[in-house]
């Protein structure tokens, strides 16, 4: 039997009148009462969405902000009605959408627990029976008789969570509410969910925590702009979603890079143009005095010019997102306006905090320049991008052996390293774990990239 079923659900939100609030006065003056009560503009939050959740399953919904996840949850909860299509739910629902919604600040936690639980569908007797459990779960015994307005936000959320979870629903709807407390409390919540699962309850989980979906859900749904993009095995759905996110990120990084390059080149292009304000590093033909605090920019004499910088993946196709541990290359197109015999090509990698992760150049690697004429292409290839996940920036430069810059591109190129492992630091050495003796682990919950 399916606990939740949506068939061809479309939800259109209406924007009323295009102004924040109507006033009756203006409505009367313009004789627009009826018109104001009709929507002026529509916005489809969900379009033809169908899915069903079998009883006892845990179902995850993922998607970017504004993809309609929360709307789907509200439809299941019955808070809003679908514009077309049908929503059916079997069993008592409890929705963890906003914790402690409906708490009254002036009255005590005790009274609020009663009212909130009654609002969520318990009878007074049921609340009385569960009251001690609720308070113990929320860990606020000493403050239960204090007015809720004196609670910290954490206490408030914990109490809200405790009430909602003790309603003992058949169908539990969860909207991104696991961040309600410290680590300990989060674990307690997860344990509670696990208990729900064991008891054969249905859980609908809306979250941005993909790890949680993979670990926890039997099935997942990916919503994108109000439509279903993928449904089924959580791992597969999460992978598809991540791929799409990376593509979008790549597009964004491409735009960022193009903008940075354009901005830097616009300033320095005609190198002799007077600086509009002071002599910041970006406008100067000279390198900035302090290389460690230099901001993005471009400088140099341009006797040799870097005309194009491309980041390519192992297959040689341009990209801005690279999986950690995979090959990546920086390809420079350079042009010498006159033959040059003193030149050094350099590359440096910085992480988002501006820490230099690695820097090198051809001179340091003992390549003595002989001659550069006309157009050339330089490729700096990394066999294995051993960095943790994050955004990195790139310096590329061509200069003389004594440091005199021909063309220096400072932090103009941005790329992302993607990884499924949430390790920390900067550098991820190639590694593996081995165990001997009485060490065992649960069967692998997922493969790491």
């Amino acid at each position: 039997m399916s606990a939740i079923e949506l068939s061809h659900v479309t939800k259109i939100y209406r924007r009323y009148g295009g102004r924040q609030f109507a006033t009756l006065k203006s409505a009367l003056l313009q004789r627009s009462i009826l018109r104001d009560l009709r929507p002026a503009d529509v916005f489809a939050a969900l379009q033809d969405v169908s899915f069903r959740v079998e009883a006892g399953r845990t179902f995850g919904v993922i998607g970017r902000n504004g993809s309609g996840k929360s709307t789907a949850l509200k439809l299941v909860a019955g808070i809003t009605k679908p514009t077309s299509g049908a929503v059916s739910v079997h069993g008592r629902i409890s929705a963890l959408i906003e914790l402690g919604a409906g708490f009254h600040p002036e009255i005590s936690g005790r009274e609020n627990v009663f009212i909130n639980a009654v609002m969520l569908g318990l009878s007074k007797r049921e609340v009385a029976e569960r009251f001690d459990q609720i308070v113990a779960f929320a860990e606020i015994e000493p403050f239960i008789d204090a007015p809720v307005k004196t609670y910290s936000s954490g206490m408030y959320m914990r109490l809200g969570f405790a009430v909602a979870i003790h309603v003992d629903p058949d169908v539990l709807l969860v909207d991104e509410v696991l961040a309600v407390g410290d680590e300990g409390f989060t674990h307690k919540c997860l344990d509670k969910f696990a208990e729900f699962r064991r008891r054969g309850k249905t859980i609908l989980l809306v979250t941005h925590s993909l790890g949680l979906v993979e670990r926890f859900c039997d099935e997942a749904l990916w919503l994108d702009h109000g439509r279903v993009r993928a449904e089924g095995d959580p791992k597969r759905v999460v992978d598809a979603y991540l791929t799409s996110v990376e593509e979008a990120e790549g597009e964004m990084l491409a735009a960022t890079t193009a903008r940075a390059v354009r901005a830097a080149s616009d300033v320095t292009g005609p190198a002799q143009e007077p600086a509009p304000s002071g002599d910041g590093p970006a406008e100067s033909a000279e390198p900035p005095s302090n290389m460690y605090t230099a901001v993005e920019g471009r400088w140099g004499s341009r006797e040799i010019e870097i005309t194009e910088v491309t980041l390519v993946d192992g297959a040689g196709s341009p990209s801005f997102v690279f999986p950690a541990g995979m090959p990546m290359a920086v390809r420079l197109r350079v042009r010498a306006h006159a033959p040059v015999d003193d030149f050094v090509f350099g590359v440096a990698l910085f992480n988002a905090e501006g820490v230099c992760c690695y820097g090198t150049n051809t001179y340091l690697e003992e390549m003595d320049p002989a001659r550069l004429v006309g157009d050339a292409e330089v490729t700096f290839a990394i066999d294995s991008l051993d960095l943790v996940e994050g955004t990195y920036k790139l310096d590329v430069a061509v200069h003389k052996r004594d440091g005199y810059p021909y063309d220096y591109h400072r932090l103009l190129y941005t790329f992302r390293t993607s990884s499924r492992t949430r390790d920390t630091g900067i550098y991820r050495p190639k590694h593996h774990w081995t165990f001997q003796g009485g060490v065992t682990f649960q069967p692998q919950r997922r493969t790491t990239a």
């Binding site: 009255i107 009274e111 009654v118 007015p147």
Partner: protein, 264 residues
């Protein structure tokens, strides 16, 4: 619509708790707490007594003691006007609930009406104490009508409360408009002057059209004037009209229901 109305019965426990919360929260943090519900009408009645016996003696022979006469009308009026003022803002103030929790929105305006009804009853106790103190006995036979009057007022007020709360979601200035309208309405109702006074009779048709006239007059007849209840017909017509108003208002509320969660 009728299914929704029936659903309200299922939520009576919640309505009860919310009314209790409303009453508790009102005086939470004040030293005298719940006693304010008694002290407010007590002070008001004392002031009226002082003004109308010492400062500005009113010698209208039909309505003595004058302060008590006025109070019979002012108490239900306060129930009515505070209910409407609070109800009109109730959906906006409870926006968080409407958007995040599944429960019938009409509970919010209804709760304000009911909470103010409780205050009305508490004020009534003060009135009774004064009536006893003045040895001013109304006709006990007429008192059987009292619950009917209260019920008619409840239906009437609830109907208007539903209507106003739903409209205020879309038109936020209704509350300002309402406070002025209520002031006008108060003076247009025979509360601080007796009904069927020579000056009033001249405009009887106008007063008859004012629904609250029938409520105020009924209260005065039952609580203050000696003699059998003489306004039964007006009250029953008013009751029937209130029932129609309530159903109409509920229908209107139901129509706008889906817009609340989106506009609030």
């Amino acid at each position: 619509m009728f299914r929704n109305l029936l659903q309200l019965v299922r939520y009576r426990g919640l309505i009860q708790s919310l009314v209790a919360r409303e009453l508790k929260a009102r005086y939470r943090g004040s030293a005298l707490g719940f006693f304010w519900s008694f002290i407010n009408p007590l002070l008001l009645l004392s002031i009226y007594t002082f003004v109308f016996t010492v400062v500005l003696p009113n010698s209208n022979p039909v309505a003595q003691p004058y302060a008590l006469f006025m109070f019979c009308g002012i108490l239900p009026w306060n129930w009515f006007s505070s209910s409407l003022m609070e109800a009109s803002g109730s959906l906006v103030a409870g926006g968080n609930l409407i958007k995040k929790v599944l429960f019938p929105a009409e509970i919010l305006p209804l709760v304000t009406v009911l909470a103010n009804m409780v205050h009305f009853f508490l004020g009534l106790l003060i009135l009774i104490a004064f009536l006893v103190g003045y040895r001013h006995w109304p006709d006990l036979g007429g008192l059987v009508w009292f619950p009917v009057i209260v019920f008619v007022q409840l239906v009437f007020t609830a109907g208007l409360a539903l209507l106003l709360s739903a409209l205020t979601v879309h038109y936020r200035d209704i509350r300002d408009l309402l406070s002025n309208l209520l002031m006008f309405w108060f003076f247009a109702t025979p509360i601080i002057y007796p009904w069927l006074d020579a000056n009033v009779i001249a405009y009887k048709a106008f007063f008859d059209l004012n629904p609250f006239t029938h409520l105020a007059v009924s209260y005065q007849e039952v609580l203050f004037f000696y003699g059998p209840f003489g306004h039964a017909k007006g009250l029953l017509v008013m009751g029937a009209a209130s029932a129609v108003l309530f159903l109409g208002a509920y229908w209107f509320f139901d129509r706008l229901r889906d817009s609340f969660a989106e506009v609030v």
